[in-house]
C-alpha cells in the first residue's frame, strides 16, 4: 500500500529529521542515488546495523558501506489506524524487512495492501520520491 502523505507543505515530513544522526549519513546519501547502503566492519565483516562507530565484535573502528542486493523478506509489520504525526494519512503499514544479507530495516510497502501482508513474503527495494527533495527506500513484491 502506498503511504499517503499530507499535502500541506508546511507540515515537515519526519524524514526531515533524518540528518541528525551522523552515523546514518552514508545511508541517506545512498538513498539519494537509489542505493541501499549498509555499514559493515572492514576487519571482521560483521554488519553494523544500525550504524555505529565501533564494531562490537572485534572493536575495530574501520568500517565500509556496501550496497545491499535490496532483496529480502517481510519479518514483521504493523498498520497505523491513528496518525502519530500530521504528515501521514491513515491507514498505512510499516514493515520490518529482513534483507538477504542479514540486517533488518524498517520501511514501507510500495504495492502491497495490508490484507495481503504475510510474514515471510519475498520483497525487493524500490525508491519512491515522496516529495521534491525527498526519496525513501520502500519494498515491493519480489518479481
Amino acid at each position: 500500500m502506498t503511504v499517503k502523505y499530507n499535502a500541506d507543505k508546511r507540515i515537515p515530513h519526519p524524514a526531515k529529521w533524518a540528518v541528525l544522526y551522523r552515523s546514518s549519513t552514508p545511508f541517506w546519501d545512498g538513498v539519494k542515488e537509489k542505493k541501499l547502503m549498509l555499514q559493515r566492519c572492514k576487519q571482521c565483516g560483521t554488519w553494523l546495523n544500525p550504524p555505529r562507530p565501533m564494531c562490537p565484535k572485534c572493536h575495530s573502528t574501520e568500517s565500509e558501506w556496501v550496497a545491499s542486493s535490496g532483496k529480502g523478506k517481510i519479518y514483521s509489520w504493523v498498520t497505523y489506524n491513528e496518525a502519530p504525526d500530521p504528515a501521514f494519512k491513515t491507514p498505512y503499514a510499516v514493515v520490518l524487512i529482513e534483507l538477504e544479507e542479514g540486517p533488518r530495516l524498517v520501511s514501507n510497502l510500495a504495492d502491497i495492501t495490508p490484507e495481503d501482508i504475510r510474514i515471510g513474503m519475498p520483497v525487493e527495494v524500490t525508491f519512491e520520491d515522496v516529495a521534491e527533495d525527498l526519496t525513501l527506500p520502500k519494498f515491493k513484491k519480489a518479481g
Binding site: V3, H13, P14, A15, W17, A18, L20, Y21, R22, S23, S24, F27, W28, G45, T46, W47, N49, P50, R52, P53, P56, K57, Y75, S76, W77, V78, T79, Y80, N81, E82, P84, D85, A87, F88, Y92, V94, L96, E100, E101, G102, P103, R104, L105, V106, S107, N108, P114, I119, L136
Partner: protein, 415 residues
C-alpha cells in the same frame, strides 16, 4: 544466508564466572536481605492532579515518612528517575532537610531502587527516599521534548536511530514499536489476542476493588478487550496502560533499623538489573530473536541468584504491563513458564488472578491505575504487610519487574 548481526550472548557475570581476559572472578557482592522498605506514601491518582510535581513530591515523601514513623529530617538519601519530577536539591529544600549524604538519579523502570539499596547497604545514607511524582496525564508530552532535544543537540546517541530509521516511514511512538514485536510474537508462537486479552480483564477486576485505580469502576470482559479501538494493528487501546497523574514515595533503610519502626519490615531480598546485546528501547529489531526479553532474562538470573530462590517460591509478581503483550513475554523471561507459553498461561485468567498459581499485578497494574512504575513496589509492600485490596494468602515473597522492552530491573521482597 550471510553473517547475521551480533548474537545474543549469555550473561557472563553470573556466579563463579571469570573475566575472559584477566581471569578475575566476576561474582558480585551480595546485597541480600541487608535493606528493607519501611514506608510507602501514595498521593491519590487523578487525570488532572492540578498541582506541580514539586508539590506532590513533597506530599508523597511526607506520607511515606509518616507511614514509616521516620522523622523527615532523618532522611539523608534521595533517589529518583531522571524523567520524573524535581531533582533532589529542590525537594530537599522544600522539606527543610539540612543535608543529603547521598543523592542520585537513575533512568528506566524502577531502577533507582538499586541506588537506594546500594546507598543504604554501603552506609552512604541511613534513610533513603525514592520518590516518583509523575503527572503524565496533564503534564507536557515528554516525547515532544525528546524531538526538540534531539534536534538541538545533534548527538550521536543510539536513541536517535528512531528519527533516522523509523520516523521517516511513519513508525512513530512506543505503541507502534511494541506492535512490531507483538506481531512477530503472535506469528512465531500462534498467540491469539483472545489469550492476551485475559491480562487486562484480570487487572480490571483487581482495579475495580482498588480505590486508587481510577480507570475501572467495574471489570471489563474479554469481549470489551477485543472490541477496544485498534490503534496500531495489532495493538488495541486496551493493550496500552493509560496516562495518569500521581506521586509515590518509599523509604528504605537497613533491615536492622527497620525492625524498630512502625511496620513489619519488607525485606529487600534481592535487587538486580539486566541488559543484553543490541538493545534499543522497545525496538531491538536487529537481534536474532525479537520475541523474547533478554534484558529481563539476564535480570532474572541475577535476581534469583542473589535471593537464592527460584520462580516457584514467588507468591505473586508485579510485572511491567505498560504494554500488555510484554506480560506473557516477561512470564517466559522470568522463568514462570516456558518459551512461547506465556499467552497460554494467561488464557482464561485463572492462573494469574488473586488466588491463582501466580497472581499478577493485584492492584490492577499500570493498566488499571495508569502508568507509574513505582506502583509495583507499593503493591508488593502491601501484599507482604497484608494490606492489599486484593490480598493473597501467604504473601511472603513477591517479585517486582520493570523495564520490559528495555533495560530491566527487578526486586524480590519478602516478609
Amino acid at each position: 544466508m550471510a553473517k547475521k548481526s551480533i548474537k545474543d550472548k549469555t550473561n557472563r557475570a553470573k556466579s563463579g564466572a571469570k573475566s575472559r581476559k584477566t581471569g578475575h572472578s566476576m561474582a558480585k557482592n551480595s546485597i541480600k536481605n541487608k535493606t528493607a522498605i519501611v514506608g510507602i506514601g501514595v498521593v491519590n491518582f487523578s487525570k488532572n492532579i492540578g498541582r506541580s510535581e514539586w508539590y506532590t513530591a513533597s506530599q508523597c515523601i511526607k506520607l511515606a515518612a509518616d507511614d514509616a514513623g521516620v522523622n523527615i529530617y532523618d532522611i539523608d538519601g534521595m533517589v529518583k528517575n531522571i524523567d520524573d519530577g524535581p531533582d533532589p536539591s529542590y525537594v530537599q529544600k522544600g522539606l527543610g532537610i539540612d543535608n543529603l549524604t547521598y543523592h542520585s538519579e537513575s533512568h528506566w523502570g524502577t531502577s533507582a531502587m538499586m541506588n537506594a539499596v546500594q546507598a543504604i547497604a554501603s552506609g552512604a545514607a541511613n534513610y533513603c527516599v525514592y520518590y516518583q511524582p509523575a503527572h503524565r496525564a496533564s503534564g507536557p508530552e515528554k516525547s515532544i521534548s525528546d524531538y526538540r532535544v534531539a534536534r538541538e543537540t545533534r548527538d550521536d546517541s543510539l536513541d536517535l536511530i528512531r528519527y533516522d530509521f523509523f520516523s521517516p516511514f511513519g513508525l512513530i511512538g512506543q505503541t507502534g514499536y511494541v506492535g512490531m514485536t507483538y506481531q512477530r510474537y503472535m506469528y512465531e508462537f500462534g498467540v491469539k489476542p483472545e489469550q492476551i486479552g485475559w491480562i487486562p480483564v484480570v487487572e480490571s477486576e483487581s482495579a475495580a476493588r482498588n480505590p486508587n485505580a481510577i480507570f475501572f469502576d467495574k471489570p471489563i470482559t474479554i469481549k470489551d478487550y477485543l472490541n477496544s479501538r485498534m490503534v496500531v494493528n495489532p495493538m488495541r487501546e486496551y493493550d496500552v496502560a493509560p496516562k495518569v497523574d500521581g506521586a509515590i514515595a518509599i523509604i528504605i533503610t537497613t533491615t536492622e533499623r527497620a525492625r524498630d519502626l512502625k511496620h513489619k519490615p519488607v525485606i529487600i531480598s534481592s535487587c538486580a538489573f539486566g541488559m543484553a546485546p543490541e538493545g534499543q528501547f522497545h525496538t531491538s529489531y536487529t537481534r536474532d530473536s525479537i520475541t523474547e526479553l533478554p534484558e529481563m532474562k539476564n535480570m532474572a538470573r541475577e535476581l534469583f541468584r542473589i535471593a537464592g530462590v527460584s520462580p516457584k517460591d514467588i507468591k505473586a509478581a508485579m510485572l511491567d504491563d505498560t504494554f500488555i503483550p510484554y506480560v506473557p513475554m516477561q512470564l517466559e523471561a522470568l522463568g514462570f513458564c516456558g518459551r512461547g507459553e506465556g499467552a497460554a498461561f494467561c488464557e482464561g485468567g485463572d492462573r494469574i488472578r488473586p488466588g491463582g498459581e501466580l497472581p499478577i499485578n493485584t492492584d490492577g497494574g499500570s493498566f488499571g491505575q495508569g502508568k507509574l512504575d513505582m506502583t509495583r513496589i507499593v503493591e508488593a509492600v502491601r501484599q507482604i504487610r497484608g494490606t492489599s485490596t486484593n490480598q493473597i494468602d501467604n504473601a511472603d515473597m513477591i517479585l517486582v519487574a520493570s523495564g520490559a522492552g528495555g533495560p530491566a530491573d527487578g526486586l524480590i521482597l519478602r516478609g
